[in-house]
Amino acid sequence: MRRAAGWVSITAAATLLQLQPAANGYYFFVHYLTRSAPWIPVAEKFDVAALQDRRVPFLIADQAPGLAAGDSFAAVTSQIRAAARAWNQVDSADVELAFGGYFTPGTQHDGPVIEVVFGEIPPGLRAMTSATVGTEAVASVTPGAPPFVPITKSTVVLNRDLNRTPSWTQDFFLTVTHEFGHALGLQHSFTSGVMATEAARATTKARPLAIDDIVGLSLLYPVRGGLAGSGVIAGRVTSGGAGVALASVVAISLDGAAIGALTNPDGTYRIEGIPAGSYYVYTHALPPRIGGEAHPGGILPPLDFSARAVPATGLFETTFYPGGRTFDRASPVQVFPGGAADGINFAVNRRDTLPVYGVLTYSFPGPVAVQPAFLAPVGGASFAVAAGFGLTPRSTVAVLGQSVSVAPNGVKAYPVDPRFTQIDFQFSFSAGEGPRHLTFTTDGETHVVPAGIRVVRGPAPSIGVITSGLDATGARTASLFGSGFGLETQVLFDEVLAAIRQASETLLVVTPPPAPPGHRAVVSVINPDGQSSQFVQTAPSTFDFDATGDWNFTVSPAQVAAGTEALVEITGANAGFQAGQVSAGFGSSTIQVLRMWNVGTNRLLANVWVAPNTSPGTVPVTVVNGLRTAVLPGGFSIAPANPRQIQLRGPVVDVANERTEIAAGAVGSVRLLTPAGDVPAASIQVLVSDRPAVVTGWSGGTLLFRVPVGVPPGPAVLRVAVGSESASLAMVVDAAPPAIAGIQSGGAPVDAQRPARPGQLIVVSMTGTPEGDLALNRVSVQVNGLGQTVASVAASPGGHTVQFLLDELTQAGTQQLTVAVDGRVSAPFALPVRTN
C-alpha cells in the first residue's frame, strides 16, 4: 500500500523511538525514519521471514548473451551460480541464494526474487544492479530484530555481449559476486572486499569475500550467535563540533582484517561484528565523485523520512585514532568478545581537496596485471606497481606492521610506464602469508589501502598440459601437469569444481564434471593463498569433453497445486547425473526445490515447495548437471490450491534424534495436513518405497510411522494416503544403526553379578559400525542420556570396540547405555551399575 510522501501515523511515530536501529557496521542502503536526530537507520533487505527456508531465489534470463570463442551459456550459468555460492558460504548470515532456473524477462513474479538479465550495455559499463523496495519500513516482531525496508525484487543486469569478458575470467566472476552483494542490500565499501568498487577490490576467485563482506551480510541478515565472539567499536566523527555525515570509519588489524562503517548524519557510528583483537581505527572522507556520478564514493546517500538524500558532509583530512594524520600517531583499540569500545571519537579538519586517494596496486606475475599485488619473498615478485590520484614517486609509502616494509629508496617511477609508481618491498623471516595494509602520504595527507598487497609463499600455480584418460571403471579422468599445486588446490572446469582423485605439486588427477557433448571447458586451478593459474597463463587451459549424445528429462507429476510441498521425480535419458553436481529450478520466485537427491545416474527426487500465492500456469523446468543444462519449457504447471488436498510438510525426521536420515525399523515423523478435519489414525495409510509402514502416532498434525525393515538405505518415497487423497515426499532411509554386542570391564563381562562402577573404564563391543578406523569425534556414548567421556575407539573383528569412562555421578541401578556413530544411535543396552 502506498501513501503520500511524508505520511506517518501517530502510532508509528511513537513506535519509532522504541525501535532498535538497523545493524550498524556496514554500508547498507539506508533510510531514516525521521528528518532530524535521533537518526534511526533502517536498511533495505529481503524479508527472509517471508521466504521459504530463508532462501532468496535467483533466476537467470533464458536469452543467452553473445559469447567469446570457446565460451558457452552453460559456463556463464556456472559462473553466476558460483558467485551465488560465494555468498552462501557465509554461515553467520540468515539468508541463502537459491538457483531457481531460467526465466523469460518480463515474467511477473509472485514473490521476492533476484533476476539476472543480459542487457545491452554500452562500452565502459560491465554490470548494474537495481533493487526495488517497498514503500514502508517494517519491523519484525521478533524481539531485538531491527526494522527494515523490504526488497521486493533486485535486478542484476549483465552485458549481453560477453565477447570481451569471457565467463571464465576472474573479472566476470567477481563482478557477478559484487552485483549479488548489491542485490542483497550491500553498498560499496572501502575495505578492499568484494563490495569495494571494482578497481579497489582485493579479493580473488579463490578468496572472493573479505571479512568485511562477511560481516556486512551477517549484520544485514543476522542469525542468533552468528557473530559470537565479536565486539563493537563506536564513537563520533566531528568537525568544529558538528557531526560529519557519511564519513567512512575503518578498523584494521595488522593481521589483515579491515571492517568499516559510515557515520550517521550526526557523525555517530558503530562498527559491529569485529572479531576480538587489537585494531587501529581511522576515518576518511568518501572519495570525490566520479565523472557524471551523482554521489561521492559511489555511495547512495541515506534518505530521510521525506525521501530526501542526506548528503556527505564533504572532504576532510584522514585521521587516525586518537588523533593524528599519520599512522605513527595511532594507538590500537582493544575489542573484546561481546564488548563495546565506545567513545572512539574523531575531531577532523575539513579540506577542499584530497591530495591523494584512490590508490591501487598491481603485480605482474605473468602477462596481465594482478590486483592487488601478490608478492612472494622467495621466487616471486618483491615489488608492486601503484597508481592513484596524487601518488608520485615523492609520496611516502609504508606497510602497517613489522614483517614487511618498503625498501630504502623503494618508491620510484615505474620504468615501464612512468605514470605509475614502483614500490620495492623487503621481508623479514617472520613474514607470514596474508594481506598487508599500505599507507600513501602526499602533502601530509594519508590514504590507507587495506590489503594493498598480499604476501604468498610462492608463485601462482600453472597448468602445462591436460590429458584425458579413463579409470579402471571406464570413467573419464583428466590429468593436469603443471606446478604450484597442493593438497588444497581446487580445479575448476569453467566454474564447476572437479572432484580431485590424486594431488601432488606437479600433478592433479580429477573427475571432470558432466558437460555437454563436445564442450570445451576452460580449466583453472586456484590455491588457498588466492592465486590462480589465470595469473600467469597467456591463454587459458582447456579440456575437450567427449562428443557423446545429448540428453533430456521428464518431470512427474507435471502439475502441483499452489500451497503444496510435493515430491517431484525427474527422470533423465542419457543424463549421467553426478552426485553433488545437480540442481533444478522452476523459473519462478515462489517455487523452490527444498532438497534433491540423486537416485542413480538418471533419476532425481526433489521435494518442491509451491507457495500459496503462486499464480496458476506453466513454468519452465531447468536441470543443471555440472556444465550440462536442459530446460523443459512449460514443463511444469501450477494448479489452483485444492482445499480438499491432504498435504505433507517436511522434513521427514527420526523422532529419536531429529536427523533427516532414518534407519529401517526406526520411527519417522512428518507433518500431515488434513483440511477436511481430524481423521482417525486407522484411515491413514503410509508407504515407504512401496512397503506398508505402521502408523505409530497421529496427533496435532504430526504423523509418526515406523520405517519398514528391509527398505534399502538411500533416498525413498514416502507416500501417505487418507481415503482417496494422497501426498508424497522424498525422505532418506539410513543404514541400520550400530548395535551393542557386549560390555566388559576389567576383562570380564558386565552383568548383574559384575555390575559396572562409576569411574571404571568400560569396553563396549559394537557391530554394524562403518568399516575402517573411526575418529573419536565420530563416536559418542550416553548413559541414561548423560554424555560419557570416550577414551578410545579401535577396529575389531566384526566392528569396533569403544572404551569410555563411566561418569562418577552415575547412579546405581540398571541404566540405559547407547552408542552413536556418525549420529546413528544404537538401541539401548542395559548397563547394571553399583555405586558402593
Binding site: A49, V117, G124, M128, S130, S140, V157, A200, L303
Partner: protein, 178 residues
Amino acid sequence: MVQIRPVACIGLWALAGFSTTLERLTLDQMTTQSNEIVRGRVTAVSAAPQGSVVYTRVSIQVIERWKGAAAAQVEILVPGGTANGFRQTFSGAPQLAAGSEHVFFLWRGKSGVAQIIGLSQGLMDVQLDPAGKAVVSRNAIREPMVDSNNQPVPDTGVNMPLFALREFVKRRLEVAEK
C-alpha cells in the same frame, strides 16, 4: 512464524538501491568506440519500464555533430528513472535535465538504441568560463583503473576548451580512417 508489521511510510515511491560496475574508457577509446558524438541540448525527458529495468528517454537537439549520420535530433536511453510509481536509480547514470547542454559520446548496440558510452563517462558538461569561452568538463574517473584487458589505466578527467575537444575528436577520427 515471524510476522512483520509496517511502522512507517518512507516516501512516495518504491525506491531502488543501485550499483554499477564501470570499466575505464580513455577519451581516445570513447572517440573510436562511439557511433555518434554530438554537442546538444536536452529538450525532453521521460521514463518507461523496459522489461526489468526502467529507462529514461532523453531527447537531444543537436547543435553540432562530430561523428555519425546527420540528424537534428537524437534520442537516447539512460538506465534508471521513475515510471509507474517506481523509481530505479543506477550509480553513475547521469540525471539529465531539459535545457542542459553537453557533449554526448553515444553508442548504439544491435537494438539500435543510443546510450551514453560508459554510462556517464561519455557525457561532458558544456559551460562558459569567466572569459566567455565554452569549456567541456568531466570529473576524473575514480573507480576504474583497469581496462578491458585488466591492464592499469590512469585517469585525469577532462577539462578543456570546447574547440580543443572538437579538434581532438576530429584528428582522432582522421587517424582511425587511415
